[in-house]
Symmetry: D3
Subunit: 289 residues, 6 copies
């Protein structure tokens, strides 16, 4: 799912960041021929995301290291579970350790938080979706983590789908056109593959937007009763995306209003890292006979 080229570029940059001119400690303390075995262990339960980056971290540190995953992306695990094992030259294993953990902890944190949101709405038809509120440089990885947690991706960037916000609508209508007219003209000028989503703040904005023939209508910061009214009003004429400060405490009730998608910025901007560790055993080098 994640192209190798993207994973390798991000991981290589992280390795260089974490050891721009080598590992001072290992160079001084670890014999060049020492071998290490590492076990990636869960210090708390959760949902795994990070298989490709963990493997890349060790491979790009040293192609002779071997990583074997016990769990796959999207798998649930409990405290104490072994997630993966790695074996290779000790200096190389230690060089990649922190980078592998930083990625896996962050991505599994996102997957685990996403899974909690997904679980809250499982009895409804609502999907949990991410947003563009991701860590700069890591968007592809964080969106993958959302999928591992059972969530869905929203548009990736400004380039691949249309999301019309209040600012856009405001300027559109300074020209004397109605919202419906202005949107219709804009839609006609877009690529036919462009999904069009329009954000509204009030119930009375819904009808003019729908009249323009949009794909999705985003109900932003609506109260529960307004959401319910909105669902009735839209009546299947567009996908409904609820957004705005959604939390674990509020997501269930929002889903029960009947919306189709719930966009949750917190999935990526505020997920705490999951506590994973690498237990490493270093063995002095063994001379070949």
């Amino acid at each position: 799912m994640l192209p190798t080229a993207i994973v390798d570029r991000v991981v290589a940059a992280a390795l260089t960041e974490d050891a721009p001119w080598g590992d001072l400690t290992s160079s001084a303390l670890i014999p060049a021929d020492a071998v290490a075995e590492g076990t990636l262990v869960a210090r708390e339960g959760g949902v795994y995301a990070g298989q490709a980056v963990v493997e890349a971290a060790f491979r790009l540190s040293d192609p002779t290291t071997q990583v074997r995953h016990v769990v796959a992306d999207g798998d649930r695990f409990d405290t104490g579970d072994t997630l993966a094992v790695v074996r290779g030259p000790a200096r190389s294993v230690l060089l990649a350790e922190r980078v592998a953990l930083n990625f896996a902890q962050r991505m599994s944190g996102i997957a685990t938080l996403t899974a909690r949101y997904v679980s809250e709405v499982a009895h409804t038809g609502a999907r949990i979706a991410d947003t563009r509120k991701t860590t700069p440089g890591l968007r592809a990885l964080e969106r993958h983590a959302v999928v591992c947690g059972g969530g869905r991706n929203h548009r990736f960037s400004l380039s691949d789908a249309v999301l019309v916000k209040d600012n856009h609508l405001a300027v559109l209508t300074t020209t004397g056109r109605t919202v419906t007219q202005a949107l219709r003209e804009a839609i006609a000028a877009l690529p036919h593959t462009a999904h069009v989503e329009v954000e509204v703040d009030r119930l009375d904005q819904i009808e003019p937007v729908l009249a323009a023939g949009v794909d999705t209508i985003m109900l932003d910061n609506f109260s529960l009763s307004d959401l319910r009214a909105g669902v009735r009003l839209v009546a299947g004429r567009a996908t409904i995306d609820a957004s705005g400060g959604v939390t674990l405490a509020t997501v269930r009730a929002i889903a029960e209003t009947g919306v189709d998608v719930i966009s949750v910025g917190a999935l990526t901007h505020s997920a705490p890292a999951l506590d994973l560790g690498l237990d490493v055993a270093v063995h002095p080098g063994v001379t070949a006979p």
Copy 2:
């Protein structure tokens, strides 16, 4: 403090990530000559970090945009405060908006969380320090945010200081040398500018490590009583760094044991984003007289 070259590289990559081939919505809806004014507003109180990246986001989007900060890095602010104002071509302002916010929210989140830790220990001599548990690719920015929050930086990477952990000690002593001997030999081989910190898990490991002449001793996952005992034992012969699962609930008591430094991974790996927003007003282009 943050070199321009680093800020610009990271921000340019983020802009490309967020609009790899342009902004579909603005291209369709915003006239090329429309002008926008944006106000960076705090939706919750905190400590600011991100001046350089916010300015770079708008400048690299379009050099004709103007950003004026009302607060500086490290300043405290309250809900509703204006942090900065930006003015420029509307398409350019909207192109940079999400990138600027993603950086500023993350960095201010770290600064704000750090300030809470720092405040907990302000009555003691202890410093709050970051760790290498940072977001891959953003370490320089996140460490800067820690400083904005009143925290201190630990070593940046594997390359610039020595941190001897249990793995390293274990392999050192397989050669029949004592820990003291092994550390002394390793220290003698290091650059004279290399700060040497050694992690210990038990009180009885302290004396042999100190005997080797280290700069800092890290007491990892010590109970409060063991920390107090450790402080008495070290007796000023080395800097003492307490680490291991430190939280806002535990940091005050740890600081009161008399340790010098408290390393807190959570500052960077689990700080929630601070809620900041950009209120944008778009004006249709005005023809020059």
Copy 3:
């Protein structure tokens, strides 16, 4: 429309390719203080595309050069028309000349060819769209040129929209599901912003595909009569995209069948360069008084 960051990256690479270690001829023959005026002239008529890249080529060669465009992207011009004028240090102007022309000729060639296709179908409701058959590395620029010529963009890449081809369908149905079932399940798993287009080769494939609820149906290599039959069959239930070896000779008849979009690979993979030239006058340096 084209982000500056993308234009600058591509143009800088081209300048380095064309003068990896300087301009041997200018260094030997042109005094460092000579000044040049260049006029970008059309040696044949067409539609212009390339304003941003031409300006970037001279600016990145030397920020003191001045470029003033007489035409804008999308403007028509005739043989002999002046398109832009440039003035600056002679060595800098000559350094950028070939790069500016290579881009402008290629992009204007695409815009001009696109305009001919668009003109053929102007009396119908059909749009002319590009494909992914672009020059590697120049996709954003070439798609922009298509828009300058009055064409429309199709999906940019594999990442931003779904296009299900025969290969995909074939493997879907090995599982014993019908095409309709298989597509429905796939669509349900996609992001809600993903536009779904499905390619069919025969009329009888249309109904099962439509039944799955797709956004666009691509009729690939259909005869004119089959296209007409297809349009009747679809009856507005999806956008219709005609593709497969479309030429200037065939596009009008295809459009008249009533399809909505006609995808034309030739716009980008086979457009001949438009003949543009830079007439340069070099003046020896004038000593300041």
Copy 4:
């Protein structure tokens, strides 16, 4: 001939351009363990160029894919011929398909067009040479394609050989020196390895240029009779390069004037893509026993 480093850099950029965050369609529709076989087939006859890039596209998409070429660079083939076969994970094969084709179609288009020019002049001693009118970023690849078609390379860039044009001559002579003097002084200042070619527009410019001791004289936009006169005048004292709007219709007569080299910009700036296709069969994954 093409260094691996150059091929890999260009192909990796193209793969990222075509799937910046993965393949939405394959991820949704193709099982991760499905296997694909692809056959690169000629939909029209021509001359092949692209072996290294096709292999790199699949290898960089996934190192476990296998590509076997049936033809080599420079080989002729007919409509329907198989050029290469590829086998590997279906998602990986589909990820590289368009990129491989975009390169191979463009390069084979250039090789095929070059071969037509070469064939026109085969009975003479004239060589067909490329120019700097190449696609930005792809010059090394396109020049390689020219060689595959039997053509010859001209200078690669401004850095590796001297080509004095009318602009240069004009400024040279503002100093009161004759063309011969000015060229002699310039040549004396050049590296001894720099090949010096000078462009002239009229017969009477030839003698003064030759008198300076140049390696090649370019007769630009000469009529056939002037070319013949030029050949007589030069009389072997320099290589003769004919240039200026050469087409398939005019190249034979130009070659028969006795010139040594004919520079043809159209080889690279206007060669239509050759029609090649990848016939892909996807098989659902087979479980190992």
Copy 5:
């Protein structure tokens, strides 16, 4: 010791620099299937540094080449000794030859010069250390060469340790504080892992600097008698680093004053290349039976 990522990046750039679009000579003269054997031979004696870069040069030129080192980094060798042997496709071996030599000659030149300095002070406790006076872009490699020659590394960059020079002190004291006060305040603000070295020019500056509690004091351009006086004054309270125009002629006497570290810019800024050569035998290709 040198991370693969760093070596590969630097070597790949050098290969591209030395053959930006292929090897004109080999392409014309060496059959594609010819095989070459090369022997890296010492044309003068010295200390080797460059194992990783030599291996990378051939591997990145062509992964099928084989390099076997006879000596390791840090080994001494005499004129005529074989250092390594390489075997592979002739074109690939010749492509990497100059790059491999340029690195190995420069790095071995540094290692050899370092070893001469180290040998001069071997009877004392003084270490020979490098400086930041390295070749831009090659610092990690040149510092590694210093270590190969028995030298020690100083701080790598401005980012990883503090070195307070006269400029810094001068501005510190404009605020009315004493040097001791100003340094104390600055040290208190630094990361606890930051090694602090302060440069002094006169004996009377030593005491105030020591009083601030610095790690190392640099005695810059001191006479031998002042160095001796400085050593007595410091009396073990800080590491002593002697610097300033140190040469092979003066280093022994400096070391005998009792200083701990001697920083020698000449190790990296003025070491002549060591004379190494690659004796290559090319064999025409052998057809497989």
Copy 6:
């Protein structure tokens, strides 16, 4: 002469290398508003090279710094001369100082050494030329420095001219062809702009090589008497390039044999850095009125 793009890329990489995450010392000790004036002073006499890189180092560190050169590239200067002055924010000036010096010292060292060689042969017609024995990554800069010193450039890389060495000749003749035949065939296959130089080790190799019609013949490691014999033998039929261990002690006699070019690897591989310094005065910030 040096394209800005190349200078900026190399200098930016050097700045990042020297301060990967900021300047620890300046951040702690220099107020953000302090201003610095720096004077680039010659601590020994020589020939200057480095204007563009020195200016780039300060500009890329901070665009508000101002650099004014008193000397230009190629100018001679004496001990104590001021070469340039810089003024700007103190932190920015100190950030660029070492990078600017490292480049200027290296390049001026090459220019100065080249000038000594050139001076030795000034009474003859011989040119002093560089080789490919340059610092990896800095070839364009070092070749520019050679020109500043009055030297001449040889081919830049493997890609831009042909240099046939003994290895190439050996394999050519395994096919049963004579050297003359083999060279003629190879030359016929080369681009017409390719300068062909052939290296010979013995006098008897000269005639067969000349018979093939080469541009330059390199006499490698010839004795003075053999050089003289070679000059007589060649008799103006080709340029003569003398190479092989040329030193300041031997270059005059070699030039007096009548050769045209003398290639000197030592110009770039062994030139000691010239001693330049930056005298910096830092002033605490002045508050604007």
